[in-house]
Amino acid sequence: MQKLKYALAPSLGLLIALPIFALFIYFIAQGDFSVANFRVPELLLYAKNTLFVLLGAAFLVLLLGISTAFMSARFEYFGSPFFSLAFVLPLAFPAYIIGYTYVGFFEFHGILSTLLGVPKFKLDILNIYGVIAILSFAMFPYVYILARVSFASISSTVVELVSLKQLSPLKAFWSVYLPLAYPAIFAGLVLSLMEVLSDYGTVAYFGVDTFSVGIFKSWFGYGNLKEAINLSMMLLVAVFGLMFGEARLRAKFRFISSTHSAKKAAKIKLKGWRNVVIFTLSLLITTVTLFIPLGVLLYWFYLDFHTLEWDTLGYLYRTLSLNGISSLFIIALAFMMVYASRFYPSRWGVLSQKLSMLGYSIPGAIVGIGILLLTNFIDQSVGKVVLGGSFVALVFAYLTRYFAASIGSVENGFSKIDKSIDDATKVFGTDEFERIFRVYLPLMRPYLLSGFLILYIDLAKELPATLLLRPFNYDTIAIRIYELASNEILYKSAFPSLLLVGTTAIAVLLLNSKFVRGKR
């Protein structure tokens, strides 16, 4: 029995990575590793563009994420409660929607040219810099959310030391505060960059040839799914390498900061010109990342107002119920995984946990193909269709694709539970299930909830796997947006987009609320 428990974490990891293995087996079984349709220069171009987009997005995500997190965690200034919320909200937009709204804003005869009264004015953002900006706007809240918690938990002792040493504010930021937040910043950055890697919709529309465009060129252009899978596997190997690199780097920067004993440092109240500068900076960031996309959607909504389709609410209902159940299931597995690795650790557990995160970096459609291969194999072995076209297949795809997004928050929560609590509960000799339900689940509540909400937000935006795997007649709101956008009826996509953004915004607000954050 005890031995079985040690097998729990590794087997969960393997289960989650199973669709990836299905792809891998397919990759090996076909015995054809060629990417013959691509010439070396083309592959190099994909690699170069991907790297450039990654570096650019990393820079901008860090710049936006760290500055907003620091301002929100350390300062009190005009409008700061509002901004600390507004900085999270861009997460509610699918990246390609931000892309469409910005094109609508800057294009010829676009909204900006109308506002300025200069009909000829336009700015072409359909290029690699545009992609970097759009993806960064959509992803920086990952860094913001995680780094803010770190900045906010800086103890008053640290602040006192800084003032004793008479460090300049800038020096203090670089040499003291920033390093303290490194682990959180890394974790947020990794999430953002993995999403950037898997993005297809935005890069394809903007005409930038990244690796994922190459993957779809094989599949859609040459009708060669094998080759698309080969390319995805190449990408996976690179990501796996990066993940190990990141883990080692992170280990180097691990600081032990006891958050129990020390009093948290109070926020600094800004006055005078400092107040003005920080307020202006916040307003600028919020305008670019939130007000403009939201404003464009509202304008389109206004154009469409008399022809609104109320059955859009049906799509919303399907989205809510599917996502609620899926998120609950995934967060429960994440809890089991981290719990098992804490109490029954093994080397295999560590490895399989890394494997379980791989799905986050490859395009959702490729994960979907992995699921199709897997479920079809099972169906064929059983001799009848049990999984194909079912909700189980779809939820499995979500699990593989988004497990990485949920586990961070759960790990973070467990790391805050002191080992002495483990010992204490063991001494009292209570039954394991009782320990879980009476000790760990209550202690973990805020972290599980925030993991659940992050999952919910990600799933609500998810398109490719849903497109490929959903049961008949089960169209979600993301599907509806895709239908309207690919018919190029952009203004009509505003209503479903706003509904999507609205519901994810509720999740974001909850994420931010005392109810979820508890007494962290």
Binding site: N127, F216, L372, L490
Partner: protein, 340 residues
């Protein structure tokens, strides 16, 4: 007690009957057409026939891959695509089956359906030029091949060659003029581009209106969407450009189709056939034409609505299976010509 059993039997019997009836009164559709007009048509079919239409929409390439992986387990009875390339690919992969239907043979002209009756065109869209009348005159325009003429240097706009409609256009040029000419055309086109291919068809039309280029290759469908937009700026832009049907003195304007076929492992073959027949009927074709800015495939129905205002034109009547045949070749040619 006795009553209880008979009640139970009744329930079992009823649900059995219901499930049997259910099995024979539905049709499962994989479709790349995600238009609201299609939803209305499916509803009309349901009311008329009592057959429930179940739909999954996704990109055609994905649906073809899905059919391939699912094999005999596939729940789909019918595949609908919005271009010829994928329909042809589905047939080549052995995913479709032959159907004998007098109705379809009568409703759909021969060049718009498969020689082996595995797929049938349902609607047409033409790949045409829109141009800026302040920069170009109609007299300067001719065939597709003319676009490689250096006089158009820096003037042409189009999206990526991997867009299904560009692929089919290039395939039709290979079929009509041979691979060497097609490569020459593609190279000349790339040399004449006003900018790197990007954005969707709407963005190409906007770029013509803004003067970034003078001429764009687009589908009639998207121009129709813009002309009927609720966004007044869209309408203004679409009205400021002019439409030109290419190759009128040669093969005619390139036509692409939306079409359908019955899948090889269809469990509801009869129902799928009925649905395709319905979609080819005068009733359904009229709705296609009016609501969705497409040209009906059934010659008994006239173009109407916005596309009717574009005027009559000569269309390329090359059998579409020829276009399908050269689709992969077209990608090769585009890659050779560096058409991204």
């Amino acid at each position: 007690m006795k009553r209880g059993i008979s009640f139970l039997q009744m329930i079992v019997g009823l649900s059995l009957a219901a499930s049997m009836a259910f099995a024979s009164t539905e049709v499962n559709v994989y479709s790349h057409r995600h238009y609201d007009s299609d939803k209305a048509l499916f509803k009309a079919f349901e009311e008329k026939s009592g057959i429930k239409v179940n739909v999954i929409t996704a990109k055609a390439e994905e649906l073809v891959s899905k059919l391939k992986i699912e094999g005999a387990n596939s729940p789909a009875d019918m595949l609908i695509t919005s271009d010829i390339g994928n329909l042809y690919e589905a047939k080549e992969e052995g995913l479709l089956q032959k159907i004998d239907s007098k109705v379809l043979s009568a409703n759909i002209p021969a060049h718009l359906r498969d020689a082996d009756n595995e797929w049938f065109g349902l609607t047409k869209r033409a790949r045409i030029f829109v141009y800026n009348p302040e920069k170009l005159s109609e007299k300067e325009l001719g065939s597709y091949l003319d676009l490689s003429n250096p006089k158009f240097k820096g003037k042409i706009l189009t999206r990526s060659s991997s867009a299904a409609y560009n692929k089919s256009l290039l395939a039709s040029i290979i079929a009509n003029h041979g691979e060497a000419k097609a490569l020459e055309f593609a190279k000349g086109l790339v040399a004449n581009l006003a900018r790197e291919p990007k954005g969707n068809d709407r963005d190409q039309i906007k770029a013509v209106a803004s003067g970034e280029g003078d001429l764009a290759i687009v589908n009639t469908y998207y121009l129709g969407v813009m002309l009927n937009s609720k966004d007044p700026k869209d309408v203004e832009v679409a009205k400021s450009v002019k439409i030109f049907f290419p190759a009128q003195k040669a093969e005619g304007a390139h036509i692409n189709i939306s079409g359908a076929g019955v899948t090889k492992y269809a469990k509801n073959k009869e129902n799928a056939m009925k649905l395709i027949e319905f979609l080819s009927s005068v009733e359904a074709q009229t709705l296609f034409a009016e609501a969705n800015h497409e040209y009906p495939a059934n010659p008994a129905v006239k173009a109407s609505g916005t596309v009717a205002t574009f005027g009559a034109f000569k269309e390329d009547t090359l059998p579409l299976s020829e276009v399908g045949k050269y689709n992969k070749k077209a990608v090769e040619v585009a890659t050779k010509a560096n058409w991204r």
